[in-house]
């Protein structure tokens, strides 16, 4: 009996502690039994673990494993380790992910190793402590806190690390060792990494606001509100209709430059109320095979800036089949009948002063009109002096440029110069061949008295509204 008791006592003190133990578990800690698929809560500690058992931790959790021979593995949160071998002479742990601190006791030839996806770390002194972190793709960072550790990558390259050294290992292999950061340095590095990430978020937030700004800018461009004129200067354009009464419409092309505003407007009074949708009304202005339901009875087409204005007025409008009248020169090709509005009274005014005009009664062709001389054609009021004779010449003075000049030379020595230009997309005058191209914006200039009214007209507004040619 004494012998048996002595044997028992001897066995307790001589045999190593064989069973690994999960000594502490804080937060979410789960255990998976060897060969099993299910993770279960660690439950009460201490808890025995065997070879093949796995332990994993959740966010901010931690676990302490005590292995044979006194080796301790402490995992941080979001870590996953499993026990591969826990024998009397050999302890091996598989670290799959996360951070862990290992205190290895390798006295008496005992082998203590930790394997990661890219390397194996072995204790090379009786007491060795190190911290390792396994990140995405298995890349591993090893920092030796005490003693000596050996690291060997998957290609067989190995090196020894001493206290204070750090090395990174990835699929390429083991890199050059560096001095491990002190705890203060490590904390600073973590902090810097976090704040760099925050800076990235802050800068990335701009992308949404920039996209909204880009769309606003693009919209203005697509609507033709931002153009470049013949001189390469920025000109803003707004084109809209004003509808002051049911039978009246005013089509406005407003320009804005550094020098101020200028505009073209076509203000027309119709014989009947206009519909909400003006598309058929404007389509009918250029003439058609049948008379339009909407007849312009009077209009005023104006070019103006903040100083000068140039106005063409018409009154007494009525629709005429130009192809059916007695004047073959006003025929419109492409149709048997061609109805357009003809005006009985018409006048051209520069800063309110009548320059020329004509009158007639139920005119069927402008060739029947009588030029005004001593009366205002619109109001009939007597003029202070007879209107001077006018000579009108049209030319293309520059062979290379899309520039048409219409010069009105008056007997009193005054002139009115009207220029039509086709513009390049990015500014400047387009080549001569592009005159009339739908791909070009137009600029209209009216010069008299030494000053010029300049209006960039991106649409067909002038053509659509031109009533007297």
């Amino acid at each position: 009996m004494r012998r048996f008791r002595a044997f028992l006592i001897a066995s307790v003190f001589v045999l190593p502690a064989r069973a690994a133990v999960l000594r502490e578990a804080t937060g979410l800690v789960q255990v998976r039994a060897a060969g099993g698929d299910n993770w279960t809560p660690a439950g009460k500690t201490p808890r025995s673990l065997g070879e093949g058992d796995g332990v994993r931790t959740g966010f901010n959790a931690k676990a302490r494993l005590e292995l044979s021979g006194g080796t301790v593995v402490e995992t941080a949160g979001n870590a996953h380790v499993s026990i591969e071998v826990d024998g009397p002479s050999h302890t091996s742990v598989h670290a799959l992910f996360g951070s862990a601190t290992v205190s290895a006791v390798a006295a008496g030839g005992r082998v203590v190793s930790v394997r990661t996806p890219v390397c194996v770390v072995r204790a090379r002194s009786e007491r060795t402590a190190y911290r390792l972190t396994v990140a995405g793709g298995g890349s591993t960072t090893l920092e030796v806190l005490e003693g000596v550790a050996g690291v060997e990558d998957n290609r067989g390259n190995s090196m020894l690390l001493r206290k204070g050294q750090r090395v990174e290992v990835d699929l390429v292999g083991v890199h050059e060792p560096t001095a491990a950061p002190t705890p203060v340095q490590a904390r600073k590095l973590d902090f810097t990494a976090m704040m760099r990430r925050e800076l990235g978020f802050e800068l990335g937030r701009d992308a949404d606001f920039a996209a909204a700004a880009r769309e606003a800018r693009r919209g203005e461009r697509e609507l033709g509100r931002v153009l470049t004129d013949a001189d390469g200067r920025r000109v803003r354009v707004e084109e809209y209709v004003v509808r002051p009464a049911a039978d009246r419409v005013n089509l406005v092309v407003m320009n804005g430059r550094d020098t101020g505003l200028s505009y073209f407007s076509w203000n027309a009074l119709f014989t009947t109320p206009l519909p909400l949708n003006l598309e058929p009304v404007f389509a009918g202005l250029q003439g058609g095979a049948a008379a339009s339901p909407w007849t312009v009875s009077s209009f005023a087409a104006t070019y103006a800036n903040e100083i000068d204005n140039f106005v063409m007025r018409g009154d007494g409008g009525h629709q005429v089949d130009l192809n059916g009248n007695a004047d073959p020169l006003d025929d419109i090709a492409g149709s048997v009948t061609a109805f357009r509005t003809v005006f009985d009274r018409y006048g051209v005014y520069a800063n309110g002063v009548l320059k020329r005009g004509f009158t007639g009664v139920n005119l069927q062709a402008y060739s029947d009109a009588v030029s005004s001389t001593v009366n205002d054609p619109l109001t009939g009021a007597a003029l202070g002096a007879a209107l001077p004779i006018v000579v009108i010449n049209t030319s293309f003075p520059d062979a290379a440029s899309a520039r048409r000049v219409r010069r009105e030379s008056y007997g009193d020595g005054t002139t009115i110069l009207r220029e039509s230009l086709a513009l390049e997309f990015g500014g400047g005058v387009a080549p001569r061949g592009s005159f009339g191209s739908p791909d070009r914006n137009g600029e209209e200039r009216v010069t008299f008295g030494g000053r010029t009214i300049s209006v960039v007209i991106p649409s067909a507004a002038v053509t659509v509204t031109e009533q007297v040619r």
């Binding site: 925050e198 693009r218 461009r221």
Partner: protein
């Protein structure tokens, strides 16, 4: 207190439909100071300045202004509450940005039509799922103003005596807007090798001075409001051929949609264009980053090929003369980007970038905006990070 710096300087040229801009440069500098106030709170004041003399392929290129200059200056302040024992982070912040844009030779800095002032105030909440992965939600209020953009019509209303050349209800600062931005994003690992990133953001903009245009071409009392929503999802996967050649491949899918109550009106044709700004956009971008050479300082080659199609559901396409005779306007862009980053010394790298965009559309009327073009930007310079 930890300084964070980054500087990139590039020089090069932009080509649009064969027309080349002058050689110019781009510069971008970021400076921030990370301050740990206590265990829970950190502060991040930052400043960024950028100059762009050479246009990039992702800009609004249809304006066809190769000689464009842009400058941005932004200051921001962000606080980060990160309790070490909590998965939650809370980050309030505010920022102010000045943007200058010169598009023509007669514009001086500060006088650009689209110069912008942008205020934002908001906060982000982040929930750490499995570090470094997280879910983030953010909400920002913003106010964007364009000090040099006043509607001509509002000026005409007073300068030409009123009613005859201006509509009732016309506003002046019609591009100024304010609103809210909502952002949601997350990233997570998919299996052993794939990482998934996704984000959704929506910007609601209210244009306080811009009234809605009605079918008669006149203004209604309602103000314009836009919703710009975008969503993107990307899968990233690393691959290693050998020790000196690794790759990170990614595939991104994007969806975007704008919904606006504003209409358009083609005045010279009397054509009402309902929901003028509405569109939907879909994009696919495969990309790859190749890392060549020693792992500590590899040469990085980034290649991406993006395809993007935008459809304006209610806006009809026009033919070459401007007549509305097509179906809904649609544009397609194919964009290639290649960047080589060559490390010289620690934190300092040479950078070479080539960008090319090819755009097509069923819109044939291009008086105001180019819908079909080929554009290229070629840039070279350096990057320095601290």
């Amino acid at each position: 207190m930890t300084p964070i710096l980054g500087v990139q300087m590039l020089g090069g040229a932009h080509f649009f439909r064969g027309e080349r801009s002058n050689l110019s440069g781009n510069a971008d500098a970021v400076f921030a100071t990370a301050i740990r106030a206590n265990d829970n709170w950190s502060l991040l004041p930052s400043a960024r300045s950028a100059y762009e003399g050479t246009r990039r392929a992702y800009d609004v290129l249809g304006t066809a202004t190769p000689a464009q200059e842009r400058m941005e200056h932004k200051v921001s302040f962000r606080a980060v509450r990160a309790d070490p024992i909590s998965r939650w982070r809370f980050k309030p912040g505010l920022s102010y940005k000045l943007s200058f844009l010169n598009e023509t030779k007669d514009e001086a800095w500060g006088k650009g039509l689209f110069d912008e002032r942008l205020w934002t105030i908001g906060a982000e909440t982040e929930y750490l799922t499995r570090e470094p992965h997280s879910v983030r939600a953010s909400l920002d209020w913003f106010d964007a103003s364009y000090p040099n953009y006043t509607s001509l019509e509002s000026r005409a209303a007073t300068q030409f005596g009123g009613a005859s050349v201006a509509r009732e209800l016309v506003g002046d600062r019609v591009l100024d807007r304010s609103g809210l931005r909502l952002g949601l994003a997350f990233d997570l690992p998919l299996g052993e090798r794939v990482r998934l990133e996704a984000g959704l953001s929506s910007v609601w903009s209210r244009y306080g001075k811009q009234k809605v245009v009605n079918e008669a071409g006149q203004f209604d009392a309602d103000e314009r409001a836009d919703f710009l929503t975008s969503a993107v999802a990307a899968a990233r996967m690393p691959h290693e051929w050998n020790a000196d050649l690794k790759a990170l491949a990614s595939l991104s899918f994007g969806l975007a949609a704008q919904s606006s109550n504003q209409n358009g009106y083609d005045a010279s044709r009397g054509k009402f264009l309902p929901r003028f700004y509405d569109y939907k956009e879909v994009s696919v971008t495969p990309a790859v980053r190749l890392l060549v050479g020693a792992a500590r300082a590899p040469v990085s080659v980034d290649l991406s090929l993006g395809w993007r199609r935008r459809s304006y559901g209610k806006r009809p396409a026009q033919n070459g003369t401007g007549a509305y005779d097509g179906g809904p306007l649609a544009t397609t862009e194919v964009q290639f980007t290649g960047t080589v980053t060559y490390p010289i010394v620690k934190r300092f790298s040479l950078v070479f970038t080539l960008e090319r965009t090819s755009a097509t559309s069923n819109q044939r009327f291009e008086r105001f905006y180019r819908y079909a073009y080929e554009a290229t930007s070629a840039l070279a310079g350096f990057r320095w990070d601290w």
